[in-house]
Amino acid sequence: MMKLIFEITKEDRRSVRLPMSTIPSFNIPKEYARGQRPHLPEVSKIDLVRHYTALSLRTHGVDNGFYPLGSCTMKYNPKVNEKTASLVGFTNIHPLQSAQETQGALELMYDLKTMLCEITGMYDMTMQPAAGAHGEWTGLMMMKKYHEMRGDTQKRVILVPDSAHGTNPASAHVAGFDVKSIPSAADGGVDLEALRDAVGDDTAGLMLTNPNTLGIFESRIVEMAKIVHEAGGLLYYDGANLNAIMGQVRPGDMGFDVIHLNLHKTFSTPHGGGGPGSGPVGCAKRLAQFLPTPNVEKKGDTYFLQHDNEDSIGSVKSFYGHFLTLVRAYTYILSLGADGLSDASRIAVLNANYMMARLKDTYTVPFNGLCMHEFVMTAQKLKEETGISAMDVAKALLDEGIHPPTVYFPLIVKEAMMVEPTETESIETLDHACDVLLSIARIAKEDPQQLHDAPVTTVISRLDEVEAARNPILRYSISL
């Protein structure tokens, strides 16, 4: 059993010391002083290093193997990004240094936003939001303000397709909107009729990712935009799926008014075990006045932070965003350039279609036709025939060192497995994963118990998640 850091703690061990100081000691006023000191770990350097090294070895990342986690764009994270993000000129500047002293940082942010605006077809952009969901909320607050400023106070409803990611309805709700769900049509796209029925005076906007979470391009997007715009609503683009369309089509040109990007997906910044991400929000000209403050601007050859903007929705974060994440995304865009970004999308789509073509006879694909950068397949038939669920397939993949696809999402597909290979994977890797998936389907018929028991090569087998939620143990109890 892997010990917790608290379980290798020993009173009086320590590994870091400060320089001697010749400054006198000052007393802490008793009435404010802490009673008992927190029980932080006390470990030696070598044990510290071994402990967290061991934890790293119990963690699977892109560097360890294929990671086709749908909707998450687990592409290669270039090492040069880490190098640039660790330059002292970036890591050691205080956010409250003057603009004059931080021209390099501001130029980078300005350059990045200019390029992201070009990629998305947007007019202006904020770098502040911390992640995709945060970007959604930010964009929605801008939409809210837009309607408010026009006196459209009845615009309280955000339309969200039933295939949408959970953050979309949640963000709309947190932003104070009512959420109306739009069903999908038989082809997996938004049902135009249903959309027409749903829009009305109260429509503040529609949130959409395109391609949608089924990996299908919403080919009726122009009509959809028209319907929503005619009702006085705005179109919000969830940029999580931008990896499909860079250089092919721009959200701005499709009619979207607001967009957030996930730099930690499309732009190769590492996911860090769950974050930090970065969710810049871009918008059309008519919404630019509502962008959060401060925003980075340029005057002549000088870059500065514009703090004053009366119509802004205000600040959504301390300081200016996840700067070091921006450095990584900027490094990536410079590396790829226009053609590289376009190639990335084209090959991402090629890879997904290739895997789909190889798998669709075995794992059903609920909607026919080509996919974009990802596709959803289902284990439903497999389950009916063999009792093997998407979760079982996922666990069996673990035994082969492959990270499973996203399972049980989107919710509208039963036993869904959402596969996003990304462009950085080779045909050999895809073939291997397909072979493994096909063999799992065979084993499901021949020896389903083997799959129910999976995984067996991992450091631990399936965990009791129900028990964890029923009797939550959320911290280690330090007994002294």
């Binding site: 205080h94 992640a131 590492p270």
Partner: protein, 436 residues
């Protein structure tokens, strides 16, 4: 192929054959012609790594890096042992995502469990989540946790970091809740004003200690007043200060939040940092964001999973009270390793050194004719007035020192363990010069 693509032309052809299309363009036929992109994107051509590094170095070099820093105001220049980034930058940690598959993610899950434990220890509270975006958003999420139909307004002290207040105000526009400001007197929250402002219909009072001006507030009193009024008490705290000063759990806070940057994350022009949140057990199921819980496998082996997911957006969708998905996992991991590296005594030493340095600096500055200070208890930041900030900061900058932050016409100073007596004496003598 450009970029990070492994495909040879043969590979592509083979794949197209399997798919049954002639070329890659055929995969994009669903895109309406009317909106399809015609030309190339108007961004520069891709560059080689050599050129990219040149450009990034050029930009980095345009920034002024100070070795000696006397500025805080929400971002603190602490020492980060080399071991912290060595371990945190292990590529397994960096290139993993949210641990949806616990069996191959025990490492990051366990680290998060350790993080939650450390945050509970620091704050003296019972439960913690696995981080939110930053300290300001943590405060806003805390406010949301406290709101009810009947009590939706939030009171916040004017002595809280203005960025937190600003974010809270942005948030409040979503729900229409009002933000009520409790005034400060001489850089300290006016305790006498709390009751009047909160009345009996306020969801919570948010106070910060040490507050924006560095002053250690009377949190016990504020907490008692708030509870008497039936509200929740939310404490925004500096994690380092908790080694010396009363913990939120000790003065009865219902929720503690704060900016975790001081725990091993670099200044980095403002981010990424991390917001930490801890609460009483009662509020557990209201906590936003990811939470890791302990469980066991079939063989009874201890393990960790993401838990209480029924609260979260992907399950609850529009009924979720928070939309957080990606959080600050890697910054939290860094904080975890930092706390483990510094340890109980090491982090105490850091806090005490911050404290001693600041008190010595203030003592010296206040001896200078014309410099005025107040005498509230403080941690490692304090205000002075009477000095020409522009002039002083220019002189300090000439000596390679980043001086105090100008707050209106006063100055907000900060010291950490990275300042030593020589630095401080130098600053004092430059301040003396400026005053004469």
């Amino acid at each position: 192929m450009t970029g990070y693509i492994p495909h040879t032309n043969e590979d592509i052809q083979k794949m197209l054959d399997v798919i049954g299309v002639d070329d890659i363009d055929a995969l994009f036929l669903n895109l309406p012609d009317a909106v399809k992109q015609k030309g190339r994107l108007n961004i520069p051509e891709g560059r080689s790594e050599i050129e990219v590094l040149d450009r990034l170095n050029e930009l980095a070099d345009k920034n002024t890096v100070y070795k000696t820093i006397f500025r805080g105001a929400g971002a603190y220049n602490h020492f980060i042992p080399s071991v912290v980034s060595s371990l945190a930058s292990r590529s397994e940690f960096l290139t993993a995502y949210t641990p949806y598959q616990p069996e191959i993610s025990q490492g990051i899950l366990q680290a998060m469990f350790e993080y939650q434990t450390m945050i509970c220890e620091l704050t003296g509270l019972e439960v913690s989540n696995a981080s939110v975006y930053d300290g300001a958003n943590a405060a806003a999420e805390a406010a949301v946790m406290c709101m009810t139909r009947k009590r939706s307004d939030i009171a916040i002290s004017d002595a809280v970091n203005p960025q937190i207040i600003a974010v809270l105000k942005s948030w409040s526009k979503a729900s229409g809740a009002q933000i009520r400001i409790v005034p400060q007197v001489d850089y300290k929250t006016d305790m006498d004003a709390i009751a009047g402002i909160m009345g009996d219909d306020c969801a919570a009072l948010i106070m910060q200690s040490p507050n924006y001006y560095g002053v250690v507030e009377d949190m016990q009193q504020a907490s008692d007043i708030t509870h008497d009024l039936g509200g929740y008490f939310v404490a925004s705290v500096n994690p380092t200060s908790l080694m010396l000063f009363q913990a939120p759990g000790e003065y009865g806070a219902d929720i503690a939040v704060g900016e975790g940057q001081p725990l091993g994350n670099p200044l980095a022009f403002g981010g990424p940092y991390l917001g930490f949140m801890a609460a009483t057990e009662k509020m557990m199921r209201k906590l936003p964001g990811r939470i890791v819980g302990q469980s066991h496998d079939k063989e009874g082996r201890r393990g960790y999973v993401l838990t209480l997911q029924a609260r979260e957006q992907h399950i609850r969708r529009e009924r979720a009270s928070s939309n957080v998905c990606s959080n600050q996992a890697h910054a939290a991991l860094t904080a975890t390793i930092y706390m483990a590296a510094m340890g109980k005594r090491g982090l105490y030493d850091v806090a005490k050194r911050c404290y001693d340095n600041a008190h010595y600096l203030k003592e010296q500055l206040c001896k200078i004719d014309g410099v005025s200070c107040n005498y509230h208890p403080f941690f490692h930041e304090f205000m002075t007035s009477g000095v020409d900030g522009k002039k002083l900061n220019q002189k300090l900058s000439d000596q390679g020192i980043l001086g105090p932050f100008e707050v209106e016409s006063s100055l907000l100073w900060c010291t950490t363990e990275l300042n030593n007596k020589d630095d401080i004496d130098k600053v004092v003598s430059i301040a003396r010069e400026v005053m004469t």
